[in-house]
Amino acid sequence: MNERETRMPGEEGKDGRVAGLLGDAASRLTPRGDPDELVERVLSRGTDRLFSCDSPLGEIYAAVGERGVRFVGRASSPDEFARRYRERFGRLLSWGTDGATRRLADRMVAALAGEKVEVQADLSGTTPFQRRVLEVVAGIPRGEVRPYAWVAREAGSPKASRAVGSVMANNPVPLLVPCHRVVKNDGTTGSYAFGAGEKVGLLRGEGVPVEEISGSPYLATPTTGIFCHATCRNARRIQPENRRRFRSSQAATKAGFRPCEVCRPVVTG
């Protein structure tokens, strides 16, 4: 359908002149201000922003809302990542061409490289339990690991080890909330959303002695009578000749050691 043909009869003549005047008026009503700024303002209000950056897992994508990073992951393309984001969060993603997103991207690269830089994560899309778990995990220092049972206890639900596992599997912001630092209760690394091998690689990269703690996640020293998670900063100071390895916290308590007050191992039974 050619729209010129849809014009009504009688639009020639006087009405035609009116139409011409209207077209003329239209061409003169243009928005004020810098168009780029306007577009940027519309995008930052109506969409969440996307950036990609380098990470220990290779290229990753991150989605940023008003209150921080909401979603981090790998994807075959930016489009695929944005589709997944739309399905999960109900928001469109546009490239983060604004200054704030660019600065955030720089901070995120630094944080993932181990620098002490604050990157705000927005966990508002999670349940209260998920959020408590993710906040506990966010506090596990680089170079250290904690077992699922410990995370459950710290999150206020000591019996919820398995639920902690599923929160880890659905962590919206992996790396930023370092779910790779949560390991099985026997000290083996366990599974990971991006693959068990990636988890081992990440932990090694952070200086975790993966083989050493596998099967013996607790370390005690007779000099103080205290036992720790093997990666606790206190445990790492124990002289090699004083190190006593334990497979479980029960075994350590049975041997007469009490739990470290810094890393707070879970003691049951």
């Binding site: 729209e3 639009e11 003169r28 243009t30 519309v42 995008l43 997944r84 469109l92 993603l93």
Partner: protein, 200 residues
């Protein structure tokens, strides 16, 4: 205007931008804004007769549009005729502003009396400026429905199918409103000089 692209989507053939939005292309939202913000502004400006209010309306319309697109399935987005849809959204935003009484449109008065505030192209002088300001003045004197229909037809260059999609009114109603609106505009512009003088 940016005519051809928008026009295609008005007529229901697949809009490549709708397909890219559906596929998640993160460059597509920017293109949607770049493609339509000027014409939506112009339309809101005509209806609201206030520059900051029109700017706010454009912001709000895009926010609503993006929020809706975030909730829709890819399949639904890909089949959308974006241009009339956006006009429909901004008309609702404008109606809300009217309803709130924020921008009660006075029937009389010369809306362009404020001069430069409306974003006049520099260098326009004298008779030229007078002519198109008169047109805007006359538009402001049409009934709401006529003003909407005439603006969409002759300022925004939408075909009747697009006007119908943008307003929810039947196509024949749109044709009648445009015809009568244009007739009234003609009368206002050629014979309305007394009336104009009276309000000045």
């Amino acid at each position: 205007m940016d005519g051809e692209l928008g026009r295609e989507s008005d007529l229901g053939s697949p809009d490549p931008l709708a397909l890219r939005l559906a596929g998640g292309d993160p460059a597509a939202p920017r293109e949607l804004v770049e493609r339509h913000h000027a014409e939506l502004y112009r339309y809101a400006r005509i209806l609201l007769r206030d520059t900051p209010a029109a700017e706010d309306a454009v912001q709000e319309a895009f926010s609503k549009a993006f929020a809706a697109l975030g909730r829709y399935s890819g399949e639904r987005i890909g089949a959308m005729r974006l241009r009339p849809w956006l006009y429909r959204i901004i008309l609702n935003v404008v109606r809300n502003a009217w309803r709130d009484g924020r921008f009660e449109v006075p029937v009389a008065g010369t809306p362009e009396g404020g001069g430069g505030r409306c974003g006049v192209v520099p260098g326009v002088t004298g008779a030229d400026e007078e002519a198109w300001m008169d047109v805007l003045w006359a538009l402001g004197r049409l009934s709401e429905r006529q003003r909407v229909a005439v603006s969409l037809r002759y300022l925004e260059d939408l075909p009747y199918a697009g006007i119908s999609a943008a307003t929810g009114w039947p196509e024949n109603t749109c044709k009648t409103l445009v015809r009568r609106g244009i007739g009234r505009l003609g009368a206002l512009l050629s014979d309305g000089s007394d009336e104009k003088e009276a309000v000045r």
